[in-house]
């Protein structure tokens, strides 16, 4: 790693101020950022840890019934405490491995927007709201392609609000080496329709499968996916699978998520 300063502010305001320094970068749980720094792929002047900010910690229930998760909340905490949204808790319970879940945070994951990460699928699939120190961003506007989000420089995810669906499920088909999603599908059935968000597959990062959403909105059963398919052309093609294989998996895994939705 290149060397950097380390700072651990106690409030969002202090964190924002600290991130004002040139080339400063926010540090969530570090489970992706620290390995990236080890490869010397980034050279921040300063890392601003968000873990010491009490107001960004924990899971609570919003007035509208949504599940609200502080941006610095670990996956382990979400798995244990987001019982009001079981599919979300289950998603968190299978991110990475136990030691990673004890450090990694939802804000860190969403800010990074790895194309194979689980949380982007959960947030997009739930139509979550990403609250920052300056604004609220709808998930549909937030994800803008691989490792790209609507966040501005120095903007901090303070909270993520998930409306709780009638039924939902996340199914992950893992890439055998990294154990990230080769294809992960988050399906959520709301009163006003079904959302299907897919991670791991696309060159554009997490995306909604609108055709499947339409079919499932009128018939929420695995059979509704029969005959639907995605093109492999814009899918990731690598050592672990071609675009066509990923496109095929999208349908298979979507059906499984629908069948398992509770």
């Amino acid at each position: 790693m290149y060397n950097f300063e380390f700072e651990e502010p106690g409030s969002v305001a202090d964190a924002v101020a600290a991130l004002g320094a040139e080339d400063a970068q926010a540090l969530g749980g570090g489970q992706t950022l620290i390995p990236t720094l080890k490869q010397r792929l980034a050279q921040p002047s300063k890392l601003v840890s968000l873990r010491g900010i009490a107001e960004m910690q924990g899971v609570c229930k919003g007035d509208d019934g949504s599940v609200c998760i502080g941006g610095a909340t670990t996956h382990a905490t979400v798995a244990a405490e987001a019982g009001d949204y079981p599919a979300l808790a289950e998603t968190a319970a299978h991110i990475g491995d136990p030691a990673v879940r004890n450090r990694g945070t939802i804000g860190g994951s969403l800010a990074n927007n790895d194309p194979s990460a689980c949380y982007p699928a959960a947030a997009l699939g739930s139509g979550a709201t990403i609250a920052t120190n300056t604004r609220e961003i709808a998930a549909d506007d937030y994800f803008q392609g691989m490792f790209t989000t609507a966040l501005d420089e120095g903007e901090i995810i303070t909270e993520v609000r998930f409306p709780v669906p009638e039924k939902a499920n996340y199914q992950k088909f893992v890439q055998p080496a990294s154990r990230f999603a080769l294809v992960g599908v988050f399906v959520a059935k709301y009163a006003d329709g079904v959302r299907v968000a897919i991670t791991g597959a696309s060159n554009d990062g997490v995306f909604r499968w609108s055709e499947a959403e339409a079919a499932l909105s009128s018939n929420f059963s695995a059979d509704a996916i029969d005959g639907l398919s995605l093109s492999g052309e814009d899918m990731i093609s690598d050592l672990h699978g071609t675009g066509d294989y990923r496109a095929h998996l999208c349908a298979v895994i979507t059906k499984r998520a629908v069948a398992a939705a509770a």
Binding site: M1, Q39, P176, A177, S178, H240, G241, Y245, L249, V252
Partner: protein, 787 residues
């Protein structure tokens, strides 16, 4: 009743206590006073000409002690190759120079080009980035067959072409083999890949060089399976340091699996730089660095043909293999596709005629050398796959076809130069049928089908050759080393023993199992025996641990040395007991006179040896310390039969191993618990090869699977519990313990069982799939099903 000590007992491992409490002493745990750290600047291109290296900025960076480039090593020796193969025309292989730091050209991603020694590791790495390196990139040679095309880019300009050797075995059999194929009633052929692997012991390699100016002595601490081999190769061929001025220490080593046999540039560099900088120099590999600098394994492309007569007897085998050497010849690389592969092509079968052709090829990739099994997994995989395919083509039971062709009489001389001393292939297959519950398979298949899954059963046999020997034979075959082993047994005055062995334990548990043997021979408690290994300063010249040789060769040396101790102790006892030496018996730690109640305890005899007041000084010297070197008469030939049951998800192609059974014949067993553990680990690596692990390069010679993000290591949830049996025992006839070795069996025996099982599963669903190349990752299985 299980024994509670000595040979055959599952003694708990004594080394575990330090490993379980964080008190191990691995090379990276060693820190020398005043040590500096080295970071290697490695080539990020596969092939290129070095136009310039500017180190001036780096040299002025904070903490930098010195920057080295290839120019600092002009006149220093090349990293040597330990085995010279002669091709089928009688010509020696082509052997390129292998520099410590690149000279003029870079030939694989990861080749060290420059090295920065600095006060801290991060400072060294910071400064390495300031080195101005200008490389003129050349086309990369990656595909082995294309590498042999006329006009192909040459990896080494000073060689004729990219062909290291073209080996034929047995060349004299070639015409007879061809005729047998002309006369065959049926021929089954198969083209397959034995995938390239990275050994990945969990401890990355580390080297610490130290130099004592006052005595002109160099010491290297290194993660090695064979410190004496490193001392010899590095001292004599690279740095020109006489062995009495060079000490090599391999302390606790965190796994080897072959890749820590070889002498690497980083070892020579640290030893050289410690003297040049006059301070200790330490290198600790990162895992990312390991992927591009540890020798890789396997990487064969083979066409195998099996000829059968009208009664389904095997009449001939013919193979053609391309074997990747990588960019340089690693220490034992040339031997792996030849003498460790061709000689095993008979397998468990009495096929009378065999011809093996191997073309070893240079490419712009990391050197390839021995990895657990080394040549024998490649032989077993192709043979057991083609036999399985033949059974399916002929519509006969794969087990029945194997049994029909088993070798049943021993000793058996194969047509590929080796002679199996003992074995019972029906015996291990019988045992397998019992532990694998073949009779329950049909019901399990039905159950899987109910859940939309395909179930397959795959079986295979294997034969292994361990403890490669004897030295005079391997010398004729091209080995530039002997393959004996040594042991010194030092008995202390109060009766405790220290065994200094040339074998090296890096997970095998020698400290426990070797002690069991000596304790049993003398009849004392295991706690009285200490095993010392891994330091050239206090162990006799030894060849180290690889090729499942430790108990068969190192253990035999230890037995011979202990026999010498016992013989001398009997002389002392006969003096103390005033009896004839011929009448002295040693039992349960006491010497007695046959037919009397006269006896003297072991400790009294050892004390007499060192306090020789009442002692036959006119006949024998005081003291009780003996050394033996043991050079085996033959290889040992463990064998076995393995079965794998898989479930395949037809929607995704994902293969799940549901059951795995292994019935092995290792001859006599010293510690059944340790042997079982060795088999477990081997099976896991074999399943890893079959389903998960894939070391892949792109067409530019960039490694695609360069970290655990893309190289799939088997994890706990990839594997089932294993059913392992080694009660079928035909002891080796030519070593004193009757042992055969068990370290590689699991890795050799398991890949074909997995692939056979997947093919069985797919064919059960009416798919015409006859082969899928490893690893059988979900995308490949799905593609095969839908191809």
């Amino acid at each position: 009743m299980p024994k509670d000590g000595g040979i055959g007992a599952s003694s708990k491992r004594r080394e575990d206590v330090r490993f379980l409490t964080g008190a191990g002493n691995y090379t990276d745990d060693i820190n020398m006073h005043g040590q500096a750290y080295v970071h290697f600047l490695r080539s990020d291109v596969a092939h290129g000409t070095i136009k310039s290296i500017d180190t001036s900025a780096a040299a002025g960076m904070p903490g930098v002690v010195r920057v080295f480039t290839g120019a600092d090593f002009e006149g220093v020796g090349s990293i040597p190759c330990g085995w010279q193969v002669t091709d089928r025309h009688g010509q020696p292989m082509q052997e390129p120079a292998h520099p410590i730091l690149a000279q003029g050209k870079v030939r694989h991603v990861g080749e060290p080009v420059a090295a920065v020694v600095a006060e801290t590791y991060e400072q060294a790495r910071d400064a390495a980035e300031a080195i101005g390196l200008d490389i003129d990139e050349l086309p990369a040679v990656v595909d082995m067959k294309a590498a042999l095309d006329s006009g192909a880019t040459k990896v080494h300009d000073d060689l004729n072409d990219n062909l290291c050797y073209d080996w034929g075995f047995v060349e004299e059999n070639k015409e007879a083999v061809n005729k047998a194929f002309d006369d065959a009633a049926h021929v089954t052929s198969l083209e397959l890949v034995n995938n390239r692997l990275v050994a990945n012991p969990m401890e990355p390699r580390v080297a610490v060089g130290d130099y004592a100016r006052g005595t002109d002595e160099s010491t290297l601490y290194t993660t090695s399976q064979n410190p004496h081999v490193i001392r010899l190769l590095m001292g004599a061929f690279v740095l020109g340091i006489p062995e009495h001025k060079l000490r090599v220490v391999a302390p606790d080593v965190g796994g080897g699996f072959g890749t820590k046999i070889f002498h690497y540039q980083e070892e020579a560099f640290c030893t050289f730089a410690a003297k040049a900088c006059n301070r200790p120099v330490k290198w600790t590999s990162s895992r990312s660095e390991a992927f591009i600098s540890d020798a890789h394994g396997r990487d064969h492309v083979t066409k195998i043909e099996l000829a059968l007569d009208a009664d389904n007897n095997f009449t001939a085998i013919r193979t053609e293999t391309h074997a990747n050497m990588g960019a340089y010849l690693s220490t034992f690389a040339p031997s792996v596709p030849t003498w460790l592969h061709g000689t095993l092509m008979a397998g468990n079968y009495k096929t009378p005629l065999i011809y093996v052709n191997v073309k070893a090829v240079f490419t712009n990739t990391v050197p390839v050398d021995a990895y657990r099994g080394a040549g024998r997994p490649e032989a077993t995989f192709q043979l057991e796959r083609v036999v399985d395919k033949a059974a399916r083509e002929l519509g006969v039971d794969p087990i029945a076809l194997r049994r029909q062709n088993f070798i049943t009489e021993f000793p058996y001389a194969t047509p590929v130069a080796v002679e199996y001393d003992t074995g019972d292939y029906h015996g291990t297959m019988d045992k397998l049928e019992e532990i694998a519950d073949f009779s329950g398979f049909a019901a399990r298949r039905t159950e899987s089908e109910k859940h939309g899954k395909l179930r397959g059963l795959g079986v295979n046999c294997y034969i292994e050759a361990c403890g490669i020997a004897p030295s005079n034979l391997v010398g004729q075959l091209g080995a530039r080393a002997g393959l004996y082993e040594s042991a010194t047994v030092r008995v202390n005055a109060t009766g405790g023993l220290v065994v200094m062995t040339g074998s090296h334990s890096h997970g095998q548990g020698h400290e426990t199992s070797f002690a069991q043997v000596v304790a049993e021979m003398i009849g004392i408690d295991e706690s009285m025996v200490e095993i010392v290994h891994g330091d050239t300063a206090n162990t006799p010249m030894g060849m180290g641990t690889y090729g499942s040789r430790s108990i068969a060769v190192g253990g035999s040396a230890m037995v011979r040395a202990t026999e010498k101790i016992i013989n001398k102790a009997k002389k002392i006892a006969s003096h103390l007991l005033e009896a004839s030496e011929a009448d002295i018996e040693l039992k349960d730690g006491a010497f007695s006179v046959a037919g009397t109640d006269k006896s003297v305890a072991w400790g009294d005899v050892t004390l007499a040896a060192y306090v020789p007041h009442n002692y036959p000084l006119e006949d024998i010297e005081p003291g009780l310390e003996e050394t033996a070197f043991y050079d085996p008469a033959n290889f040992t030939y463990p064998s076995g039969a393995y079965a794998c049951e898989v479930e395949v998800d037809p929607d995704t192609g994902k293969v799940t191993i549901d059951r795995f059974a292994a019935a092995d014949d290792f001859g006599n067993i010293i510690n059944p618990m340790i042997v079982t553990g060795q088999v477990h680990g081997g099976i896991a690596q074999g399943i890893g090869q079959a389903l998960l692990e894939n070391c892949a390069y792109d067409e530019n010679g960039q490694l695609l699977s360069a970290s655990y993000m893309d190289y799939a290591m088997p994890r706990a949830d990839d594997l089932p519990m294993f059913s392992v049996d080694h009660s079928s025992q035909t002891p080796c006839t030519h070593n004193p313990l009757g042992v055969k070795g068990c370290g590689e069996a699991g890795a050799i025996g398991s890949p074909p069982a997995v692939v056979n099982a997947v093919v069985d599963a797919l064919q059960s669903a009416g798919k015409g799939v006859t082969h899928i190349d490893m690893p059988l990752s979900p995308d490949r299985v799905w593609a095969a099903m839908n191809g």
